[in-house]
Symmetry: C2
Amino acid sequence: MTDTPARLLRLLSLLQTPREWPGSELAGRLEVSPRTIRRDIDRLRDLGYPVEASRGSVGGYRLVAGTAMPPLLLDDEEAVAIAVGLRAGAGHAIEGVDEASVRALAKLEQVLPARLRHRVSSLQNATVPLTRGDGATIDPRTLTVIASAVTSRERLRFGYLAGDGAASKRQAEPYRLVSTGSRWYLVAYDLDREDWRTFRVDRVSEPFATGARFAPRELPAGGEDGAELLARSMSRLQPELHIDVTFEAAADVVAARLPAELGALEPSGEHSCRLRTASRSSVEWVALRLALVGCAFEALGPPELVEHLGVLGDRLSRAASRPSAAGRT
Amino acid sequence: MTDTPARLLRLLSLLQTPREWPGSELAGRLEVSPRTIRRDIDRLRDLGYPVEASRGSVGGYRLVAGTAMPPLLLDDEEAVAIAVGLRAGAGHAIEGVDEASVRALAKLEQVLPARLRHRVSSLQNATVPLTRGDGATIDPRTLTVIASAVTSRERLRFGYLAGDGAASKRQAEPYRLVSTGSRWYLVAYDLDREDWRTFRVDRVSEPFATGARFAPRELPAGGEDGAELLARSMSRLQPELHIDVTFEAAADVVAARLPAELGALEPSGEHSCRLRTASRSSVEWVALRLALVGCAFEALGPPELVEHLGVLGDRLSRAASRPSAAGRT
DNA sequence: CCCATCAGGCCAGGATCCGGCCTGATGGAG
DNA sequence: CTCCATCAGGCCGGATCCTGGCCTGATGGG
C-alpha cells in the first residue's frame, strides 16, 4: 500500500496548522502508534522540514521556518483565496515578482479542482481591476496560458491587435514574459514574420498552446537578454513620461503614500517637495497615484498629465456641483 | 532511508511544472528505474492526484486538476510572489475570501524561509497600499498573528485605541476575524471587561499570542454568529452611506468598471444609468471608484460624498492649472 | 515532586519496494 | 502505411524498510 508517503503528507498538512500537536494526538489521527509518529517526524526532519518540538506537559510538534519551502497544503478556501489574490495582482504587476507571480498562478490553476474554478472567477468579477483608465485590462487567463507555454516550450497561436488597429493571427515560439511598470509583454519568435517580436499582452486574444514543442532558439545579437530586446522595441511603443510635480506637504509624508517605483522625492522646503522622474506608466495611472497622495499638489509636466488631471478635476467638480438643470435629460 | 516518500514529493514537484515529462526523463532525474517511476505514478494516482499521461512519441506525464488540492510545491520566487500578493490583498479584503486569504497568508508565513522574509517586506514597501484616504492601513503581520491565535485558540494580548482616542491594553480570547467591505474586525471575548467585544483591527497594536490555550466559549444569545455580533456593534461604529449617483453612460459599460459590492445599476435611458445603494465603505473609497469609472457622472448624495468629490475635483483642477509657473511647454 | 512530553536504541516479523523482463496498446512522425 | 516512442501493468526474487512494542533518558510545567 502507499501508506507511508500518504501519511507523511497528511502529517505535513497537520503540522502546517499554526498550533502545537502532541505526538499522541497525531498518532490518533493518523492511526498509527506514537512510535511511528516519532519516526515520521524524524523522516520529515531528514527531508529538510524543520519540525520543532517543545517538551513538557503542553508541548508538541510544530513546523517552523526552515531553509526551503515545504509543500503547501491548502484547503479549498485558501486555494481560492490565493488564486483570487494573484489574479487581482496580475493586473498591476508588482515590480520584482511579476513573472514569478504569474508562474505561481499558472501552477496553481493547473491543479485547481474544477469545483473551485467557478468560485474563483465569480469572486474575481466582484473585484474590478484597478486599472488605469485606458482600458488595457489583462485577462489573467491569458497570462497563465502564455506563462505555461513559455515554461513548457510549446508553440503558441493567438490573435493580435497591432498598434495601428490591424488584427492578425500569429504563431510564435514564446520566449519570455516581461512586465514593465504596469504593462505585460511577451517576447517571442514570430514564426510567420520569421523574426523576434514583442507583443503587448493586453492586445493578445485567445492564446492557446498547440502541443508542438520547440527547441529554444538563440536570441538575436549575442549576449542580449529578453528584457533588452523588450526595452529596445518598447522605446518605440511606449512613450516615456517626464514627470514633474510639486507637493504641498513634507517629503516623508508624501513618500509614504507614493509607490516607490515612481522615483524619489526631493524636499524643497519645510512643507513641500518635488517629484521629478521618468516613467513608462500610463498617464491615467500616474494621475490616480498623485490624487491618492491626498495633499494639494501642482503638476508642471508633462502636458498630457496636466491635461488629464484637468479633465479629471473637471469631471469630479461637475459631479459634485449638481448641474441638474444643465444639458442632461 | 526516507527514500520513497522523498521521491514522491520530488515527483509531485516536477509534475507541477506545466509541461509534460516522459517517464524516462523522470527516471533519470530521480535516479531510479523507469519501472519504479511507473509505480510511483500509480501511487500518486492512488493518493488522489490525477496524473494524466499522453502516449505517443511526444507524450509524457502531467498533473491535472482533480478533486482535491495537491500540495503546492513552490520555488522561492513563487513563494515570495504569493506572500506579497496576499499581503497587498489583505488590505482591501475581497469579500468572500477575506478570512481564508489571511489564513493562507499565516500558513505561508509560518514556514517561509528566513532568507525570503526580507524580500517580502521590501517588496511590500514598494507597493503603496491603495487604501482609502482615511489612513487606516492594516499591517498584514497584525492580521496573521490574530488569525493564528484564532485557529490555535490562544489568548491574545494587544494594545487598543478606542474610538474616543483612549489607549488601553487588552487581553482576550479571539473568536473570529471578519471583514466587511474594506475593514477588518476581530470578534473576541474581552477577559478584562468580561464580555464579548469587536475590535477594529486597524486600531490594534502589537498583538501577540500568549501561549495559553483556552476552551471555546459560548457566544452570547443563542444562535448568534460572529458576523451578527459584528453587524450589531458595527451599526454603532460605521455610518452607512446612501449613495445616489447617475452616470452618463450605458448601464453595462458602467457595471464593467464598478465593483459588484457597490450594488446594482438601474438603466435610466439609452446612455445613462443610476446607482442607488447603501454601503459601509468610506467616502474616499467610493469617490475613488466613481472616478475610475471614466465617464461623466453626477453625485446626488450623500452630502459628504458630494463634498469629498468637490474637494478632490478642486485639488486636481488646481494641480492642472499651474497657478505659479507660466512659461514651460 | 510528579507527570507529560520528546528522543531514540533494539529487536523480530512481516510488508513493501526495487529492478528486470515481458506483453500489449496507443498515438505521432516520416 | 509503417515504425518508433511512449504508457500500462503482470510476474518474480531478493533486498530493504517499516511497524509496533518495550525500554531508558532528558526536559519542562504545574
